[in-house]
Amino acid sequence: MPSSGADSYRLRLYVAGQTPKSVLAFRNLTQICEEHLQGRYEIEIVDLLKNPQLARGDQILAVPTLVRRLPEPIKKIIGDLSNTERVLVGLDLRVRQ
């Protein structure tokens, strides 16, 4: 789903293989995006087992890690993204309570 424009979201989800946690994280992420960012987001999945050298650049430590690359600043959310509220706060889509 390519998108453009000032308020477009470029997201990258780092996983390490197809684990239950990574599958869950991806499902949670697409759900949240469809609901809140429809038409203006782009998700890229990076499997660190295939591309281990990519972990360093984004300072990936935990998996799954969601990185909001755009809009800046870069934001990181780790975990299976099961807490929608937290994810929205992390993506700056909702103000922290």
């Binding site: 390490a16 935990a62 998996v63 780790i78």
Partner: protein, 509 residues
């Protein structure tokens, strides 16, 4: 070189180890540490190095890594959690470690892991597979045999979920073992525990504790091997030093009493004193203490010893803790001993320092280095008692034991002079070192008819039939001249009841 071949499979069950077989070890290349640990850190296992801020943890870990890469053909990985690669590189550049060059040569990989709690939102389950992937990638990139994690406890500040973190750390250390890499994990000293986060619970093969304390405004660093599963190790606290050459741990050689006992003799430089020493002088490689109050001729006796040695073409090292070399040269010329030509010929070297300038361990290491560089056969320390002002009694004793031990191992004959505050206290002040001495010469003045007379006697001299006479002597313009006891008619008119007898009786030898 230090690696001891051993059955790896046995190593996990030390109690089953056959006698004489030890587990494989990876040398750190750190002067002294490999001796204490009898060969280095356990190969293929993690070692925890803990200590307070500034105690030298990172430096020790890095030295292990760099030495591995350069000297032992074991490439390494540094995973740093506190400083980035540039900062680390500039920190250790002064020690001659060229990290960028090692990285370029594929002997070292550095990965800086930065965790900033404020930048991370946590939601739901996760694991630290990303960390594993990075470490694994770095290890494979250089074919690493050694890994340093410095300081992994920083993760606790960056991540909120302690439960996940702890179980992942447990998994990480097991994983490191499975990789067969020799790892050093640093940890900050905690209150009432070795590390703040109790890492010692996970890393239990070997634990090294570093300590940096200040006593009477003199700082001392110490190292202790708290634990070393399946191996013997020195259990004392060992002083160590961080200087331009990196880390040195002392002692190097005091693990056992294994010095040779040569029969060769060396002249004291005073013919009549040699006669008192069963006619031949001191034993080569022995340690001689010359003690006495101020102005009794201690340095003069040492100068004779040095002069005689240089005449034989021996290399002599003289540590001065009171006088400067020019002062000593001038003073000795006044009694007809000219040491200057020996200095010019390179046979005699002075090394003068104010005792208070450094802590004890610095003096010790410096002396070790100077001895190693100059390779003397004779060493004089004048006066050794001035060193006692820089440490506690126990520290000084420990230090001198190590120094003397080292000299003995190197078969260096050592003469230590000892300044005694007052005649009555001779024995008490000497107990710190007297038992380490092979020969003990006591110098003292006594007073007869309003005149000082100089005297000396041998309180002990191990392994030889030595004279037990008190002999008077004069310091003349051609040196120290022992008077003949037999031709001294007024000598010891109060025999048997004089101050000498009393001293002999109480001497702790």
């Amino acid at each position: 070189m230090n690696r001891i071949a051993g059955a790896k499979s046995d190593a996990g069950v030390p109690s089953c180890l056959p006698r004489g077989r030890t587990l494989a070890k990876s040398p750190t290349g750190i002067h002294g540490l490999d001796e204490i640990t009898r060969g280095g850190l356990p190969t293929g296992r993690p070692t925890l190095v803990c200590g307070g801020p500034g105690s030298g943890k990172t430096l020790l870990a890095l030295t292990f890594l760099v030495n591995g890469a350069i000297r032992f053909d074991e490439p390494g990985v540094l995973m740093t959690f506190e400083e980035n690669a540039d900062e680390i590189a500039s920190d250790v550049a002064s020690l001659g470690f060229d990290l960028p060059e090692l990285i370029k040569a594929q002997k070292l990989a550095v990965d800086y892991v930065r965790v900033e709690r404020s930048e991370i939102e946590e939601t739901g389950e996760y694991d630290l597979e990303g960390l594993f992937v990075r470490l694994d990638y770095a290890i494979r990139t250089v074919g690493a045999r050694r890994v340093v994690l410095d300081t992994i406890e920083s993760l606790f500040a960056g991540l909120k979920n302690d439960v996940i973190l702890r179980s992942e750390l447990r998994r990480l250390f097991r994983w490191l073992k499975d990789q067969g890499v020799t790892a050093v994990i640093t940890g900050e000293r905690g209150e009432g525990s070795l590390t703040r986060q109790g890492l010692e619970e996970y890393v239990s093969d070997a634990v090294i504790l570093l300590d940096h304390r200040v006593h009477d405004q003199v700082s001392t660093r110490r190292l202790r091997v708290v634990k070393y599963r399946g191996s013997h190790h020195g259990t004392n606290e060992y002083p160590f030093l961080i200087n331009a050459d990196g880390i040195s741990v002392l002692p190097v050689s005091s693990m056992a009493l294994e010095h040779d006992a040569p029969l060769e003799r060396v002249s004291s430089g005073v013919a009549r004193l040699d006669e008192m020493l069963s006619g031949q002088g001191y034993y080569r490689g022995s340690t001689i203490l010359v003690s006495g109050t101020a102005g009794t001729g201690k340095t003069s006796l040492a100068a004779h010893f040095l002069d005689a040695a240089c005449r034989r073409g021996e290399r002599c090292l003289c540590f001065l803790f009171e006088e400067s070399p020019p002062q000593l040269l001038r003073n000795m010329r006044s009694i007809g001993i000219d040491l200057e030509p020996w200095v010019a010929a390179g046979l005699l070297q002075f090394h003068a320092d104010r005792p208070s300038r450094y802590g004890l361990e610095t003096h010790l290491v410096t002396m070790h280095h100077v001895v190693a560089d100059f390779k003397p056969t004779i060493t004089v320390i004048d006066p050794v008692t001035n060193l006692m002002t820089v440490g506690t009694y126990a520290d000084v004793q420990a230090m001198l034991t190590r120094m003397i031990d080292h000299l003995k191992t190197e078969n260096i004959t050592a003469m230590l002079t000892s300044l005694v505050p007052g005649q009555t206290e001779i024995e008490r002040t000497e107990t710190a070192i007297s038992s380490l001495m092979d020969t003990w010469i006591v110098l003292a003045n006594d007073e007869v008819g309003g005149r000082h007379r100089r005297g000396l006697y041998l309180l002990k001299s191990r392994g030889m039939a030595h004279s037990n006479e008190l002999r008077h002597f004069r310091l003349t313009n051609h040196g120290l001249s022992l008077l003949d006891a037999a031709t001294e008619p007024h000598d010891r008119s109060d025999a048997g009841d004089g101050p000498w007898e009393g001293q002999n009786r109480h001497a702790t030898v």
